[in-house]
Symmetry: C2
């Protein structure tokens, strides 16, 4: 059995480089540079076994999903990924094979998004808990936020929603055999986020469900988001498997697809269509409700994921 | 009962400011600026209930200790604290009172060290797990690392060691009544770390025990650290309570004091004495051992804390 230090070195020491990373894993702290004229955008995300993913799922997929979900926050800000830290809490019966598989998933995802692992902490814990702190660069003052949606903006989605949520039941039933790509490999919309800088007025990624997340933009911007029900891009297989109403419910309340929700002035319409974005509503002035569907409040208490 | 969002807003929304923080808690990600000519130094630390601290300890003290331990890594790099993210995983029976007390401890410590809470994630988890990502600023290329100790350097400590480790038994026995200040309020050596920039050749904070941590400097620098046993500053009350040999053992293998261990050329001697540092050994060229005591290998397998 390798010691803690040997095991970490063995599993989390793949070749990587980024000009702005001066010192990565191995000292008391990492050291990075932020180029002049850029801001640093940072987010932290925790995933807990059997809360955010099935504990029995393959470790490689758990790692892929955890890092992709975290990177999605950088996409929502319009940032280019730079680096990340990993805090990994592991049950004492975790074996080397599991850790190697986890490391493979993490490394592959990190390479895909060109993000460098620069530090971490591994601890013993009764529960499996994965915390990822991710960071990226965006031109100073250009980061996309939730607080600048304007009355009259169109509301857009980066793609169809509800697919991951519709598959979740099957994944939970057979976590080691039902490998749903949309669930384990959500596509962080980094490229689109970068294109939205200077084009969109507000943006966020959908992690807690369209309606709940839309209310965050509405509250932060002091506006109302009115969605057009027929425009919301539902997943075909979700409709086939569960019917239209269930597919709509998955789309409105499921956040696992990590698509971007954003608002933009009408002048951006053609460019956004070219980027394959879908117009799903319009920003209105502040109302009694933060979010409407076809001008009506949505009559369902289950508007999104409540963490506890 | 407040919802998750309301509770977080209620507990983690104290007034704070720092010119380099553009956007803190409340968006997909935080936004900070790093002034031209500075590097950003970052570290992530996890503390797990009943692994790193007694779960039954007062929440305010748990928070104080967690943040201080994390900030200690910034001290070891010579950095000035800037900001931190909190990832808090809580058992479902956590009540509002506990969270308010935790938040008080965190806020008080953050104010003391002038470090701004800029983001976080709160999740449900069977175990109580606290992950803190901290960051600070240091002039470009000036951060203190472990890898530059030079043969002939003196080895120094920032203060006496072994006090927290000697108290740990009592703290574990009665976690709600035995409030050991050295254990719950370790002093992150921020001021000293800043003074060491340009003065010390290598530095780290002692979190896993003097001998184990010394071996990290030795390995990273390709040298041997030889300690003078009589010079190691033992805690008087540890000697009184447990005897000399036990106090020495606590000093060599206990990391809970978070003192700085560093090496510096002889020319720094007077300045370091003025800073109340204690000379405890000398760096030698590489040997069969990474660490020696009075020229001899230390004959004890328990050289520091192994996390799992």
């Amino acid at each position: 059995m390798l010691t803690e230090f040997e095991l970490i070195k063995h599993c989390f020491n793949w070749p990587q480089s980024n000009d702005s990373v001066i010192c990565a894993v191995g000292d008391d702290a990492s050291i990075v540079r932020v180029p002049s004229g850029y801001d640093l955008v940072q987010s932290i995300d925790t995933q807990v076994a059997d809360v955010h993913f099935p504990a029995a799922a393959p470790a490689e997929l758990i790692a892929q999903r955890a890092l992709r979900c975290a990177i999605s926050d950088l996409a929502a800000m319009g940032a280019t990924p730079q680096a990340f830290h990993l805090a990994l809490s592991l049950p004492s019966n975790t074996n080397q094979h599991w850790l190697e598989s986890f490391s493979t998933g993490l490394r592959d995802c990190a390479k895909e998004y060109n993000i460098v692992l620069i530090g971490g902490d591994t601890t013993s814990c009764p529960s499996l808990v994965i915390t990822l702190q991710v960071q990226g660069l965006v031109k100073s003052g250009q980061a996309l936020t939730r607080s600048n949606a304007q009355t009259g903006d169109d509301i857009w989605l980066s793609g169809e929603i509800g697919r991951s949520a519709s598959a979740l039941g099957s994944i939970l039933k057979s976590p080691t055999t039902f490998i749903e790509k949309a669930y384990y490999y959500p596509q962080a919309q980094i490229f689109l986020g970068q294109q939205l800088v200077g084009l969109a007025n507000s943006a966020m990624d959908i992690s807690d469900g369209l309606l709940q997340d839309a209310s965050h933009i509405a509250k932060a911007s002091g506006v109302c988001l009115n969605f057009f029900k027929q425009s919301i891009p539902l997943n075909e297989s979700a409709i086939k498997l569960h019917g239209y109403n269930a597919a709509l419910e998955f789309a409105l309340t499921g956040g696992d697809d990590y698509q971007l929700l954003f608002t933009a002035p009408k002048s951006a319409k053609n460019t956004l269509h070219e980027l394959a974005c879908i117009k799903v509503g319009q920003v209105q002035s502040k109302d009694n409700y933060w979010v409407l569907i076809d001008g009506q409040p949505f009559d369902n208490k289950k508007t999104g994921y409540q963490h506890f």
